[in-house]
């Protein structure tokens, strides 16, 4: 039976159950209230003004105060926060540096992840599940722990410097921790499984006969890779890059723990605005602009995922 006929015959039957609609309604309502509505609130508060009060912004909309109270509050909305974001160079630099770090580190993660995924996909059938498990396992251990581990390695009296000094490669300890280099290392390390898994999924499906055909026709292996393997693995490359790029742009933990004072990423700026300066409206404005930057990649990623799911279905 084909998939289309399948849904056509049985979907109505399942829906005929008196409570069947709840299967859709419950998660739908949950996500609407806890995922969609909060964004509307962020936008609303980004238009408010910071105040020394509880909650620390004004106006506070009284949703039970009727239309009059709401329109009165709306009249107090101002775009001051957004104007401020364009005036202070800190925010400009944060957004630009976040994008720069995200682009470069996505590329680096692809560079490191591709050979690993390729090697896994080319290994023997018995080895593949074991290797897959080994790549997934670190992903289950705490993100914070994995970032923390690098502090001990990269700091001035850390293990990397000790090793390099003892074998005589360097004579002065290197300063790596609290620089952008440390941030790159931390990102590539933490996000590597996100890159390797979709790449592996694409490479594993690759039909070997295509490569054999290329070989038989006299195509050298490296050319065959660029003409056959790489183009066919593109869905994995795209998925992996999105899975790395989008969250890295808003990353907070890695630049905070491994970066230096000149590493200004937007996630860290937002965090400081919220926790150190307690300026909730400005933090909301920072979040709205970040979301606008990411909305295109997020929508493209979703469409990609949906298409992938439907193709498999």
């Amino acid at each position: 039976m084909t998939a289309a006929a399948d849904t056509a015959t049985s979907a109505p039957r399942q829906r005929s159950h008196p409570f069947g609609w709840l299967v859709v309604a419950i998660p739908y309502a949950w996500l609407a209230v806890l995922f969609l509505v909060p964004f509307a609130i962020v936008v609303k508060i980004s238009l408010s003004t910071a105040a020394i009060a509880q909650p620390p912004y004004t106006p506070v909309i009284d949703i039970f105060g009727g239309i009059g109270a709401i329109t009165a509050a709306v009249r107090q909305f101002a775009i001051d926060n957004y104007v401020f974001l364009t005036e202070d160079s800190l925010y400009w630099r944060s957004y630009l540096q976040s994008l720069e770090i995200a682009v470069v580190s996505t590329f680096l993660t692809l560079l490191v992840g591709y050979p690993v995924a390729y090697g896994m996909a080319r290994s023997s059938r018995a080895m593949r599940p074991i290797l897959l498990m080994l790549v997934i396992l670190p992903f289950w251990t705490s993100f914070l722990i994995r970032v923390y581990a690098w502090i001990g390695i990269l700091k001035k009296e850390g293990l990397l410097n000790q090793l390099l000094l003892s074998i005589g490669v360097i004579h002065e300890p290197l300063t790596i921790l609290n620089t952008n280099l440390a941030v790159y290392i931390g990102i590539v390390y933490s996000y590597l499984p996100f890159m390797v898994l979709p790449l592996y999924a694409a490479l594993e499906k690759l039909d070997d006969t295509l490569l054999e055909a290329a070989q038989d026709l006299g195509c050298p292996p490296i050319k065959a890779f660029w003409k056959v393997t790489f183009p066919l693995s593109l869905p994995g490359v795209v998925a992996g890059c999105f899975l790395v790029f989008i969250p890295v742009t808003g990353e907070f933990v890695i630049p905070d723990l491994l970066g230096g004072t000149d590493t200004v990423m937007i996630g860290k700026t937002l965090w400081n605005e919220f926790f150190a300066n307690r300026d909730w409206p400005l933090a909301s404005a920072v979040a709205v602009v970040l979301l606008i930057l990411l909305v295109v990649p997020i929508v493209v990623f979703q469409n990609q995922e949906r298409k992938q799911q439907e193709k498999e279905g």
Binding site: L134, W140, T141, A149, L270
Partner: protein, 273 residues
């Protein structure tokens, strides 16, 4: 065709795995270091583990984290499984595009945005922030991961058994619990574990949504890490790494065994129609 392992492939995988594991292994090794200097080896000792047991604040945080993770993972698994069924079995219901958008967006949404927006929601509706607001936030985040895991299982499994039960007059509700759920169980278990670890792991969203009195373990670790690397943190991290390793390998052996049993049962059913 069996693929041959070339030296390039073997090196690539070996280097990749070394890169992934070396930092974690070092944390584990240095948690047994007798010296207070974290990077100088001063002999084997388990004293940092003993001092952990004296640390009330840390044990409290661990207990809070564990309860948050258990409750939120369980709720997220129920909601996420429902959402997966909705996406796979309910065809093109109204608002499906928005629904699948809300499922995939949280997977890549930066934590700072999710955390801030949920906090502002809790403040707007006047909810007291603390334990339960972290739970709500974690359910929302991890249910989407559960959906993706369960969805891929629902898409691939053979529906004929389910159809047979329905044709024989088994009510849909019962069919789900007797036929469908056991068949998708490995994915549901995997989804629960993923939700559990996501909750155990989360620093940013919990920091935004918490209130006075509810400090989770990542928040505690984070505030100590900012003061510097200490052997105690290495010890906590080692315990967490150990728990996760045991849990994940245990679960994967369990699901593998079930898979083998299921295949055998299917083969027998096919052989004796």
């Amino acid at each position: 065709m069996e693929r041959r392992a070339s030296w390039f492939n073997v090196t690539a995988v070996a280097l990749g795995l070394a890169f992934l594991y070396l930092p974690i292994v070092l944390v584990v090794i240095f948690s047994f270091n007798a010296s207070r200097l974290v990077t100088v080896w001063g002999g084997f000792s388990t004293k940092w583990y003993a001092s952990l047991l004296q640390n009330e604040a840390l044990l409290d945080a661990a207990w809070v984290t564990l309860r948050v993770a258990l409750i939120s993972a369980t709720a997220a698994t129920v909601l996420g499984t429902l959402a997966a069924i909705a996406l796979v079995r309910y065809g093109n219901f109204r608002g499906r595009t928005l629904f699948s958008g809300m499922i995939y967006a949280p997977l890549v949404m930066p934590d700072v945005i999710t955390g801030l927006s949920l906090l502002l929601l809790f403040v707007a509706v006047g909810l007291d922030r603390g334990f339960w607001t972290i739970v709500l936030a974690h359910i929302t985040l991890s249910m989407c991961y559960v959906t993706v895991v369960v969805q891929s299982r629902l898409i691939t499994f053979d529906r004929s058994v389910e159809e047979a039960a329905l044709d024989l007059g088994c009510p849909p509700f019962r069919t789900f619990f007797v036929i469908t759920l056991p068949l998708i169980a490995p994915a549901v278990v995997a989804g629960w574990m993923l939700a559990f670890t996501l909750s155990l792991d989360d620093l940013v969203i919990a920091s935004f949504t918490t209130g006075p009195g509810a400090t989770t373990l990542p928040m505690k670790i984070y505030s100590q890490v900012r003061l510097g690397v200490t052997p105690e943190i290495n010890a906590i991290c080692t315990i967490l790494i150990g728990l996760v390793t045991v849990g994940v390998t245990g679960a994967s052996i369990f699901t593998k065994r079930r898979e083998v049993e299921r295949r055998r049962a299917e083969r027998m059913a096919a052989a004796n129609p």
